[in-house]
Symmetry: C2
Subunit: 346 residues, 2 copies
């Protein structure tokens, strides 16, 4: 149906520790033809997210791993090129899981229409999509913020952390962010309105965190683990809540950190301070998606939530960008523009 | 008012690791005289509980530590000897926190009347008191057992574990206990009706636990920590609940266990399996006490919950018995009979 080629990024090998460009392979194939009950999607934007590192491992996680030799998975904003489905027509914009490729077939399963009137269509991968919904559900269902409480979140300029902190501000909390580098911290304080943002690259994070949380910590939205977790643990207040959303500091770890084994300390804190730790993934709360989209849409329109995107051009750079994302090199929600945006918002 | 002497056990020194008899001191003083608004209590039964180890440390826990030189704290069943309080009269039996001594003054604060018609008065320290209520509130509020689920609890013949498992059986769960020694395990299976009880002193607890939980573990009632926790963690199912009630394996530890640091493993499990870990102490649910006492009373009358007590005679043995309790040497709810039981149930 077209002379175009379909460029795809495959998982070439399972990384040991930090992924390298050799763990990915860029290939070209023909653009497939949609059969009955199918449509052909062209990828406009591809979302890069920390969870993708887990899918590159063989072990079980939320979902089965990506097979070696298969197209890397990922959320996408796509344009319908051709459709044999009654609900979709050429030119429609949709949220899909087309993965790291320029074209994909879909039977419509898991696809949602995107209305460009609601803002930049890339927001469907960020503040109005999975990361924003993750922040919203984890914070409201598990964190349960109350006015006057103190919330701490790391990766504070990232897709999830930035939204967590902004919603917590709306709910009346004192909000302390943690981010890597002065530029991100300034953005988090000045643009996103957090009360404080601490640079984890500077020395003595534990001491600075304690100073920033004079009343202790009531909610720790866990998306990093590692040294931040260790600094937070002694500051948690009685009955504090810890939504466990991600552990990016561990994703590339090939082995456990050196001892001693600090599990007894963590369990002791949970016991004595009556903490709640609860892991979740966003789809555990799928029935809240419509409420989220409507409420978040309102906050965006009112300027109470802001979103910063970090958009890179070209599918071929996706591997390098994911590697960088896992090291905190992105600044805002990381997105790859795979092909032209028909709404030409930017 | 009496020629009797009041024997008391004081905290003589803060233990480093495992307590020794030298950390306690038996002293005698005069029996105090109740002033206005006071009553004099004679201790019949003293409860020994694992939490007491924490009170011997200087650090903060749920409650302030026992001061060196002060009477050891503890729950007691007492007889009123003399009373200047309108609600209590000579001969009344009460639940109190009189501590490790034969006589104590009370202003009635925190005291509850005990009705001997409801069973052995010592039950107020066990199945009908703090340990039973701990089991009930932690299991029902945090564990939330559903028919067909699998529950694991260690210290299964102890005051809390035995009740956790029996309530879980009433709620339709498969119940796997863990206890120390063949005699306790037989009791747990044959008398308490657990499906299986594993002896943690035998080799390969992880392998035997896996075999005993073919459908994984939905609720792990945590009261021990240590090796049992490590064996349970990989078997927890998605959305499993872990009420964190105690960590007796750690109470005597003077330092953290050797590495590697396994915190990332635990957090990874919480994240990927969407676990809930929640610490609690029984008084977080104080408003459920009347419901507990009525429901538990019914189960006891119907023979659906059984209680085994391990009663030792004489206050002077309390230190040795607490030291033994922390090593699992008790068999059932540990109680010291400090003076004659006027109901002469045994």
């Amino acid at each position: 149906m077209t002379a175009e080629r379909n460029r795809q990024v495959l998982l070439a090998s399972r990384p040991q520790g930090e992924p390298t460009p050799d763990d990915f392979r860029l290939v070209e194939s023909g653009v497939p033809e949609p059969g009955p009950g199918q449509m052909l999607l062209r990828t406009v934007y591809l979302s890069l997210d920390p969870y993708m590192r887990g899918r590159m491992n063989a072990g079980p996680s939320y979902a089965p791993p990506v097979e070696v030799g298969a197209v890397m998975e990922g959320g996408t904003v796509c344009e319908v090129v051709a459709s044999n489905l009654p609900d979709y027509g050429r030119g429609d914009l949709v949220l899909a899981n087309a993965g790291w490729q320029e074209f994909a077939l879909s039977d419509g399963d898991g696809v949602r229409a995107i209305d460009p009137a609601h803002g930049p269509i890339s927001y469907a991968l960020g503040v109005l999509g999975m990361p924003g919904f993750t922040a919203y559900t984890g914070l409201l269902n598990i964190g349960r913020p109350k006015p006057g409480e103190t919330l701490v979140v790391a990766a504070a300029s990232g897709a999830v952390g930035s939204v967590v902190g902004q919603i917590a501000k709306i709910k009346g909390c004192r909000v302390v962010g943690i981010a890597g580098g002065e530029r991100k911290c300034r953005h988090v304080e000045e643009e996103l309105g957090f009360d404080v943002c601490l640079d984890h690259r500077r020395p003595d994070l534990p001491g600075r965190l304690e100073a920033a949380c004079p009343g202790g910590i009531d909610i720790y939205f866990e998306n990093v683990g590692g040294a931040v977790f260790e600094a937070v643990l002694p500051l948690l207040n009685r009955f504090a809540r810890v939504p466990v959303c991600g552990l990016i500091a561990h994703y590339n770890a090939a082995e456990l950190p050196e001892g001693p084994n600090r599990v007894p300390l963590a369990m002791q804190a949970i016991l004595v301070k009556r903490l709640t730790f609860r892991g979740f993934i966003v789809w555990d709360f799928a029935d809240q998606f419509d409420a989220f989209r409507s409420e978040m849409g309102g906050w965006l329109r009112e300027g109470r939530v802001k979103s910063r995107e970090d958009i890179t051009e070209g599918l071929e750079d996706a591997p390098r960008e994911l590697i960088g994302l896992l090291k905190g090199e992105n600044f805002g929600k990381k997105i790859i523009r795979v092909g032209p945006d028909p709404t030409q918002h930017r």
